[in-house]
Symmetry: C2
Subunit: 277 residues, 2 copies
């Protein structure tokens, strides 16, 4: 496995590859990321993983500085997973000048995560576009855990005519159901025990929708109340149309249930996708 830090060297190195699959990450890798690497390996001759904590997608008050950076361990895990190249740019490499050209997004980016974290998706889309142009993969793999992000990247690829196929990796969960996330490492032991409640609540909402419940607002309220009572600060629990991420109606077939909530200083997100006949 090669570790490459500058753009020119990466471009030269990738010229000799017939097909490239790309997994962009912010590091602090867990089994979720590694499952994306496996998908990548199945779809191209060369798997490139980038590790870059992207300041552009953090608001000033957010956890950019304390975001876990575990580069050495990440590289060890990637080597074991069979990644071919790790792209490890520093900030001056990706942002040599102030990033004044950015991606502006549809209203879908203003709901849910976008409403809670203004500018977040603009920062994500901009760095992903840059990384796509640097790596020029045929395939890129994103985790379904960040489902709204996945849908925004899909939309960007389609509307900007990027010659890239986006693949989604299913959310990898701990035994108790908690979706794996780099931010789980912030949780204290008692919080970690409580954390699986987010997935459990979304699962309850899903089962009730599948069973024919049509009052989605009441379900959302129930879920938020349940988490609130257990000490969570809830940003949202939302029953949405899977494609548009606007609030679902009873005529929809494909649903996404998305949730975001705080345990102490740690913000967790999760989602479930399903269809109703």
């Amino acid at each position: 496995m090669e570790i490459i830090t500058d753009i020119m060297s990466l471009r030269v190195r990738l010229q000799r590859e017939s097909s490239i699959a790309f997994v962009p990450t912010m590091g602090n890798l867990h089994a979720g990321h590694l499952s994306l690497v496996q998908i990548a390996r199945q779809h191209a001759a060369c798997t490139v993983v980038s590790i870059f904590v992207n300041r552009l997608q953090f608001a000033p008050h957010e956890d950019f500085d304390r975001y876990p950076r575990t580069q050495e361990n990440d590289c060890r895990l990637l080597k074991e997973s069979g990644a071919d190249i790790v792209f490890l740019p520093d900030e001056k490499t990706l942002y040599p000048v102030s990033q004044t050209f950015q991606v502006s997004l549809p209203v879908m980016a203003d709901t849910l995560e976008g409403a809670c974290r203004p500018g977040f998706f603009r920062g994500v889309a901009t760095v992903v576009l840059k990384l796509f142009n640097i790596v020029q993969p045929q395939i890129a793999v994103f985790g379904q855990k960040d489902f709204q992000q996945l849908q925004i990247i899909r939309g960007m690829v389609e509307q900007f005519n990027l010659p890239i196929e986006i693949l989604a990796g299913e959310t990898v969960r701990a035994d108790d159901g908690l979706a794996l996330s780099s931010r789980n490492s912030y949780l204290e032991p008692k919080q970690r025990q409580e954390a699986s409640q987010l997935a459990w609540v979304l699962q309850q909402v899903k089962q009730r929708v599948e069973a024919g419940e049509n009052n989605f607002a009441r379900l959302e309220q129930w879920a938020a109340q349940r988490l609130h009572e257990r000490g969570w600060k809830v940003d949202y629990v939302a029953v949405c149309h899977q494609q548009t991420l606007s609030r679902a109606t009873i005529d929809d077939r494909q649903y996404a249930i998305l949730g975001a909530a705080w345990l102490g200083q740690t913000r967790l997100i999760d989602n479930l996708l399903f269809s109703r006949p």
Copy 2:
């Protein structure tokens, strides 16, 4: 020369090319465009020219509907010029859905043309990014006549890490100095005679700056007044720093003098670039 109208066919056709140079146009081609084709041909094995009148860069009150469309003649000229492929998408091909992902631009895009035509450069940058992703050229050629556009495209390529080299073609002028433009065809004979005054006035400003004149505001005023007296409606005459297009200072070395003004219903733009030791 091949004429290709759909994206998939173009991608398949271009796969066998070792190097591609691209000239995006809105058609109604003149010697200025054809000079860009010559530059393209010198830099790659395959020259692709696109013709697409891009609704996204026209404001509702602007001349999208009456913009001259001369496809047959354009294709004839391109064949004579040695272009290899003409990409002729229709609106549904480039905008199958509402273009909700767009390029957001730095403040440089809000001055001069951007101030007179809000949204213009956003529309230009968005369609150019799409075309770049469709054609995937190594080289793209733009006319220096649209100098602010050229600088914005250069900035976008740099900041989005597009693997494309941007080349500029010098402004081609009629014998009397008028910069060639598709919009010149709107001019009535008397207006056409007057039109060269825009270039003449910019030339005067340039000569005075070169001669050491440092009161740029006074020069701008003089130029605008001169055009106004001859019946023009002046949008701006501006002495600018060539890289940033902010107003020039006497410490600058490289200048751009840019002008935009109306003759009747026709808006003309022009510019001159030069250095002062």
